[in-house]
């Protein structure tokens, strides 16, 4: 009797618990957990220093300095040269999440792109053609929805190209494949990392270009910067394990791209010499308790006698430095792109001294004509964007600058093929906002430099000029130091 009544209840409990585990799991994979570097808190103007550019190793041609609104062809009458292009208009599209947790990432990117379009049209458009931006919102981790958004832009709105799509997750893979099959240019000023199978090569995605730091070059700079910092700390007698100054740990979210970054860091770090060793590699599960579990990861790195930590994502730096502070473990931290409010709003004093990069997207305090244009436009159309000048806003701006440059070069004969040919063959392209862009038919990922930033008192400070792997890791300002040394 009892067994008859028990079985259904046990089944229902088990079924219900399965649902309860599965549903939250979906939520846990929201990219808010992986990348919450939405916006940046900074003091403007941050640093009155020169741009101090260091030529990229891959720069093979003279610089092309582009100032929006300058140059272009004249003399030929505009005509409908391509799908989405008429004599008087160019239609472009953008796909970003405008609601849900990822809206914090999508909205700034869209609003910046729209601000650029407003300014562009106010000065007459590109060669007399006004630009019209179509927005498609899509859930950031819903591959089918993103694909539908891409189809809607191409097949219903008839756009000429797609710009600045938010694609930090695997979910953009299908849309990217579709856009490439349809031969629709995808111009990514702001971008994260795409689906594993989709690389940055011309061979796989010939119709896509991305203007962000190359991962291998980024790893080289992180390694060089950390090595320099550790040498300084060693000289100052501040390392907890001075016998082995170059023993370090890594911490990454347990997702493929961060794992790869961590592994790559270890490889490059240990190639620096026998004294350079990664003694502890920690992978943090993308689940809720993992954050409170950071104490365990810190204890493990401490136990392994690490003298510094490389964090492969912003969130592991934010919560890792908090746990390190709880355990009074003071070592240098260098993190991949923690340039966002996640670090300043959510960390506070424990994150003081942490280093991160700017992804190659510049710094609002750098005084160039192009940066002044950016700031003026943002003040006019998106005041918050000035307040939080960061990855999304600067990256999105750079994407639009590249688009305007290429379309201006082509003049009346604007076609998709010619556009991607120009965008995929930029040599020493200087936007005056971000790092120089160098692309080639075999390399559509454009940047090889970034700046190093440091967190201090809930604000970011630029502490270096443009850095290249193998170059001088020179600190140019003591602001933002917070008493942490180099």
């Amino acid at each position: 009797m009892i067994s008859r009544t028990r079985t259904p209840r046990a089944a229902i409990v088990a079924f219900s618990m399965a649902i309860a585990v599965l549903l939250p799991s979906c939520a846990l994979f929201q990219p808010r957990r992986v990348a919450i570097n939405s916006q940046v808190t900074q003091t403007l103007p941050p640093l009155p220093v020169s741009t101090g550019r260091v030529p990229s190793s891959s720069t093979v041609a003279p610089r092309t300095i582009f100032v929006p609104g300058k140059g272009g062809r004249t003399g030929k009458v505009n005509y409908a040269s391509a799908p989405g292009v008429t004599a008087g208009e160019i239609k472009i599209g953008i796909i970003v999440p405008m609601d849900g947790p990822a809206a914090e990432l999508g909205r700034p990117l869209y609003r910046t792109t729209q601000a650029y379009v407003n300014v562009l049209n106010a000065r007459g458009g590109i060669n007399g053609r006004k630009v019209r931006l179509f927005l498609q919102t899509a859930c950031i981790n819903c591959e089918a929805e993103v694909l539908l958004a891409a189809k809607a832009l191409v097949e219903q709105k008839g756009v000429f190209a797609v710009v600045n799509a938010y694609m930090n997750t695997y979910s953009f893979g299908a849309a990217m494949k579709y856009l490439n099959e349809k031969k629709v240019p995808l111009i990514q000023g702001w971008t994260g990392v795409g689906e594993e199978s989709v690389t940055w090569s011309n061979a796989q995605t010939p119709w896509s270009v991305y203007y962000t730091i190359r991962n291998d070059e980024a790893v080289g700079i992180w390694v060089d910067w950390m090595s320099t910092v550790n040498a300084k700390w060693q000289a100052a007698g501040k390392l907890p394990n001075p016998q082995h100054p170059y023993w370090v740990g890594t911490v990454a979210l347990d997702v493929s791209q961060d794992r790869r970054r961590s592994i790559e860091f270890k490889k490059v770090w240990e190639s620096k010499g026998a004294d350079h060793k990664v003694v502890s590699q920690q992978y943090v599960a993308a689940e809720e308790e993992a954050i409170t579990r950071m104490d365990s990861f810190i204890a493990a790195m401490k136990d392994a006698k690490a003298n510094a930590v490389f964090s492969a994502s912003n969130i592991t730096m934010v919560f890792g430095m908090q746990a390190a502070a709880r355990q009074t473990w003071k070592v240098p931290w260098v993190s991949k792109s923690a340039w966002g409010r996640a670090a300043t709003d959510n960390c506070g004093p424990p994150c003081d001294g942490g280093y991160t990069d700017n992804n190659g997207w510049g710094w609002a305090g750098v005084d160039t004509p192009q940066m002044r244009q950016y700031l003026a436009a943002m003040r006019a159309y998106y005041p918050d964007g000035v307040k939080y000048a960061d990855a999304q806003t600067l990256g999105g701006w750079i994407g639009m600058m590249a688009f305007e440059y290429a379309a201006t070069q082509l003049g009346a004969d604007l076609t998709r093929k010619d556009l991607i040919d120009v965008l995929g063959n930029l040599k020493g392209f200087d936007t005056g906002v971000g790092a120089q862009i160098n692309t080639s038919p075999t390399d559509h990922l454009g940047m090889g430099q970034f700046m190093m930033l440091q967190i201090c008192n809930n604000a970011f400070y630029r502490v270096s000029d443009w850095l290249s792997p193998g170059g001088a890791m020179k600190r140019v300002s003591s602001k933002g130091d917070c008493g942490w040394g180099y």
Binding site: I2, T5, R6, R9, A10, I12, V13, A14, S16, M17, I19, A20, V21, L23, P24, A27, L28, Q30, R32, I36, D99, G100, P101, A103, E104, A285, E287, E288, E289, I291, T292, R293, D295, S296, A299, A300, K302, D303, V318, F319, Q322, R326, Q327, T328, W329, A342, D345, N346, C347, G348
Partner: protein, 302 residues
């Protein structure tokens, strides 16, 4: 050679105590609610999340002392719990277990949607701590004051609730309702009042759990879902009947799950809660904590 670092083991053990306390608070709430109304409250995590947002909002907007903010959040959680029962589950007393589970999931979705609407899906990783920010260093092991305070508070509250159920009229009425609903009604027990009180206590405990753990984590509209699942595991230990078993289950799960991290079996830590549910259900471990009569009555009520 299975090398285990003692420092790491101790560090993970104390982390486990802290997390276990959170699981225990949630588990006790789940048990109270199930005993009083036969509802497997899958909205428990969402209720905790919503109350934690209230805690955060009260602190930011009113700038009250943190103790007052916490009290307001717990009071809100209690009201939310009682409200959910009176509005939804009071009318579903005679519905089947599955219908109640679906209703609970719907409430969870509603609360997450409402939180997203009100707080616009932002992430807040620094709600105020109730205890000082520093830590106590025990050799190489660091233990934050927030963690120490949370464990002590959890123990005090959990023991208080267990005593409440054991020694008060409310407790007698709750147990009577759980064991034989009809007989309890005939004896004058007002089952809706008892159930609403149990839901209020459960809601308050959920709010407390959220407010204690979130300062060391991140607050989003999806917060507390992972903890809720662990709270259910704690509740399973006592067959959704025994409060002391939920307390033991919570701490046991936290300690076991976290201590595994210091061993070569670290990867098992992530699936430990799921394995624990399966094993506990198979072994019918609740027999050690609950009377057959209570278990049978709940079966029949469900």
């Amino acid at each position: 050679m299975l090398a285990v670092s003692l420092t790491l083991l101790v560090q993970d053990f104390v982390n486990g105590i802290f997390l276990g306390g959170v699981f225990a608070l949630l588990g006790i709430g789940v048990v109270l609610i199930y005993k009083s109304s036969g509802v497997l409250n899958f909205a428990h995590g969402a209720m905790a999340m919503f109350s934690t947002w209230v805690y955060f909002q009260v602190d930011r907007s009113l700038g009250l002392p943190v103790v007052l903010s916490l009290a307001i959040a717990v009071a809100f959680g209690a009201s939310l719990g009682a409200g959910v029962y009176l509005v939804v589950f009071r009318r579903m007393r005679d519905s089947g277990l599955l219908a109640k589970v679906i209703a609970a999931l719907a409430i969870a979705g509603f609360l997450q949607g409402a939180a997203a609407f009100i707080w616009r899906n932002t992430t807040q990783a620094r709600p105020p701590q109730q205890f000082p920010a520093g830590s106590l260093a025990l050799g190489d092991v660091g233990l934050g004051w927030q963690q120490i305070g949370a464990v002590l508070l959890t123990l005090a509250v959990a023991v208080g609730v267990i005593q409440l159920v054991k020694r008060t009229t409310f407790g007698v009425a709750l147990r009577a309702t759980a064991q034989n609903r009809t007989a309890a009604k005939l004896l004058g027990v007002q089952e809706n009042r008892v159930a609403a009180t149990a839901w209020a206590i459960g809601g308050g405990l959920a709010a407390l759990a959220g407010a204690l753990v979130i300062p060391l984590s991140a607050l989003t509209v999806y917060s507390m879902t992972g903890y809720m699942v662990r709270g259910f595991v704690a509740a399973v230990v006592g067959g959704f009947v025994s409060l002391p078993a939920a307390l033991i289950g919570g701490f046991g799960l936290g300690i076991a799950q976290e201590t595994l991290l210091a061993t070569p079996l670290a990867s098992l830590s992530r699936v430990f809660a799921g394995l624990a549910v399966a094993v506990l259900l198979l072994l019918r471990v609740e027999r050690f904590f609950a009377l057959d009569q209570e278990l049978r009555a709940l079966e029949e009520a469900g």
